[in-house]
Symmetry: D2
Subunit: 294 residues, 4 copies
């Protein structure tokens, strides 16, 4: 049976801009999304961490999905983040995404209470059985609060339409262990920006990243060097962009990407409280990092 | 200026029972609540971690608040958990709780994105300025995903109606540091069950706990021994209940408290997915621990 | 069978002073030791962490043992630290200590390579079978690099002359777990200074501490309050000395105790490289903390 | 000024075999060393972690150094581990190594007491000023107990004959940060076996490893693929040996390498207590892993 793997390369994560009054700003969202599409990213993934999914109401999430499908208009595959604390809500959003034409959905198990592996497996199983599009199972304990081992992630791939794994711990040894556990043809994706080079070397199918909001060409160049097997160029282009990748991770994607866009002269709107604007000192540091690339 | 500290002693946290169809079961909730009131707890605190606050919709939260006020009917102070990911929602629920007659509200800063101290402070400040009842600031990185140092917690007490601190890391040295930072008259509460004795010795005003769902008399006996300064009795009664306290923390309160209630012959309803029933092996272990107390 | 438990109360750990040329200064050592004896400590324990045991050659260790026995001259029990990386050397030093009249020896399993529990048990077993005096098994992962659980420590007590446990992780819940695993009559000692009050409340037989180098009376006062069951006095006297306890742990005992002695007008000699004198800024902070007690 | 960088490629770490009576077995040591030399490793490094340096007496260390120089007889560069807890002893052993003809010495700062960065820097500085051969500064908190950041390691390179860095945390991001801090021409070495591929991709000059005791050809093949820039071959040969690398790290090098040698039919002597032979179950697992390679 061949598995449905609709994504590869640079998978771009848009941020969600808000108005001064705290409402989701759909027009601004479309503008920011279009910039990345124009730059040539291979797929887009709204409602991820960068898109502050957990801070949005259900109607806001649906509005973002519809705006994305309309704006992308089939140019690249769209993967929708459908995560939530309760299984019932994740099923609801997964079905909505499928109905709107998403090529895939992404699910990170979220914690308030730590979940057992049995609970996490059942969670994925219920969501998977409610839809037909493939699921990317996403591990990021730093945001979701739950940690899934590579060996457990390999087990999730036994669920028919869980076909992709996204790993964001930043530990390259987990990627190698995933291959050991799931086989060399496993479709895995890197979600840790500073690990971009290493993950591709380890065999990653794609890079899930908010960096194309700021430096899409450098991200695409890294992927191109890897697909050509040109290690020296890959290392050089990776080193060139590393400071940006480190910075946006350390400061939190919503804050740092918004600040970076403003530095580049693009209005990124407001953040939703309690998230606040990047401090002036940090913004200055980012300005220097971005200037060094120009 | 004297500060408003409406809570002391054993502050009981009810669980939230669900029907087989996954709906909040308000009648069962009232029954479970009444058991603890009858047992003599000094205050109740619905919509905490044990009450799976983050897994509830806004209307469900409001229904729990109203049911609690009605059932308690002024017999003890009621503190309502009003936490959420966005400041706007916390303000909303804090106002609702105040309007319904809560003696206090509890706020744990929650993370998807890690918050800076500046962001956390602004979050508390905005909520505090929207209401008049006192706030208990609650630190529990294991559930909320954010860790506030004792020194930072002391700073939160500068906000006029943030008058109480709840600490749940289980590190007694943090309680001593809080006293160093905030002064010996600081009103702090312990939320780590296995630290119950040590926290009272360190000067805690109260113990925020779901244990009274299962062993209210032992909880009350510990507090009584402490208020009498009887260290030997306090140690003995603490040691007697320690295995229960350790067990309910290790297995997650919603699962273990529900299992314990069933063992005691009380219908605790269902859990909301992805949370699942305690495993049979763990339930058997809890049965042994509870039998040893009978 | 009754077990040999020769130590209780305040067990004082002397530092090891060095000359400007880097030699152990035995005369200065005796002077510093005598101060604590005069102050009324209940036992002394040379060649512990404070005494920089691992930094001494075998002959230096033996010289310290002999100087201690001579200076103490039977006034209080002496426990000798005999730890080392290899079992053969620990046996050697344990026999030496016994021959010189030590009331007990202390053994911390030390790591370069992490040891399995089987290896650690065999290590204690071999040392125990080589001597007749009782052994205090000491857990301190922060220095020794190995962590033994309370449950494993309880197993060590099955070895006939392992009769005492010293716990230094600073986690009071481990003390309660040790009692659960080893029974309420277990002789355990606290080695974490900031946990002094809490450990006594949990039932500790003694406090192993370098603090009597600086504040012997406050240490003794805490023990006296505890033995009288006077919780309010115990808390007050603990809070009074807590800043000193926190400071000497945070800055490393050899450096901070030496600096504190100098502040008190007592020549503490030199440290052995790579350990270096406390920085001027930290020394100033300690001066303020000590002044506040005067 | 050009810096002295005498090592590259596969730098092999011999183990230290003991007799049944617990003595260092020099003849067996030479035999084991010769096997790796014959296999074609690019350098050897006795008295590292695999060689249980900290468990040896000073005369034993010197005997190993002399045996190594004699056996190698100039065929490859020799780097001697000269680490110890006190600066005085490290200087002593560094001078001895230099006198015996070592091409370099390796120094890991070791802790009983955690050292400040000032203390660590002074430690390296004193050792460096006592000798003329280049020093490899080695970071491995899992064994040495101290963690040096990439930024601090870059500072150590300011000391004239500290010319090489060995990093063993297994975190590839540290290697990239080291390049950011020290420049692209920094000579760094990987000491984390499971990171072998990733470290070479990140630009490592060599791989410090005990794996050539068991699988020298696979280790050499990886380096050859990297020097040819053949990423696909490098990934394949890395994946082939990864289970061995993971196993020897997880079980501790001295135990697992000795067990592996026995499996390969080579007498590896005894371990020094408290280190004990690998368990039968683990040995069986290693047998399977090695069989799969044959």
């Amino acid at each position: 049976m061949s598995r449905n793997i609709p994504l590869k390369g640079i998978i771009a994560y848009p941020i969600t801009p808000f108005s001064a009054e705290g409402m989701v700003d759909i027009n601004k969202y479309k503008t920011l999304l279009e910039r990345m599409l124009k730059a040539g990213v291979h797929a887009v993934a709204p409602l991820g961490s960068a898109g502050v999914l957990p801070y949005l109401s259900d109607p806001e999430r649906e509005a973002i999905v519809m705006a994305t499908m309309e704006q992308v208009a089939g140019r690249v595959p769209v993967m929708i983040g459908v995560s939530g604390l309760t299984t019932e809500r994740v099923v609801y959003h997964a079905r909505f995404a499928e109905k709107q034409g998403a090529a895939a959905v992404m699910v990170i198990p979220m914690s308030y209470w730590k979940l057992t592996e049995t609970e996490i497996f059942a969670h994925f199983d219920k969501v998977a059985s409610a839809i037909s599009v493939p699921i990317m199972a996403y591990n990021n304990p730093a945001t979701g609060g739950l940690d899934m081992s590579p060996e457990f992630l390999a087990k999730l791939l036994k669920i028919p339409n869980v076909t992709m794994i996204k790993e964001s711990t930043g530990d390259v040894s987990r990627l190698h262990r995933l291959v050991q556990a799931a086989g060399e043809d496993v479709a895995f994706y890197n979600g840790s920006n500073p690990l971009a080079l290493d993950a591709f070397v380890a065999g990653a199918t794609g890079w899930c990243t908010a960096a194309p909001n700021l430096i899409p060409q450098l991200n695409l160049d890294l992927y191109a060097a890897i697909t050509k097997g040109n290690l020296a160029v890959a290392l050089a282009v990776f080193r060139k962009q590393l400071s940006v990748l480190q910075f946006i991770v350390a400061g939190g994607l919503p804050r740092t990407v918004a600040a970076g866009l403003e530095i580049l002269g693009i209005n990124a709107g407001h953040l939703r409280a309690p998230l606040a604007k990047l401090s002036e000192a940090d913004t200055e540091q980012l300005r220097k990092i971005l200037s060094a690339l120009a």
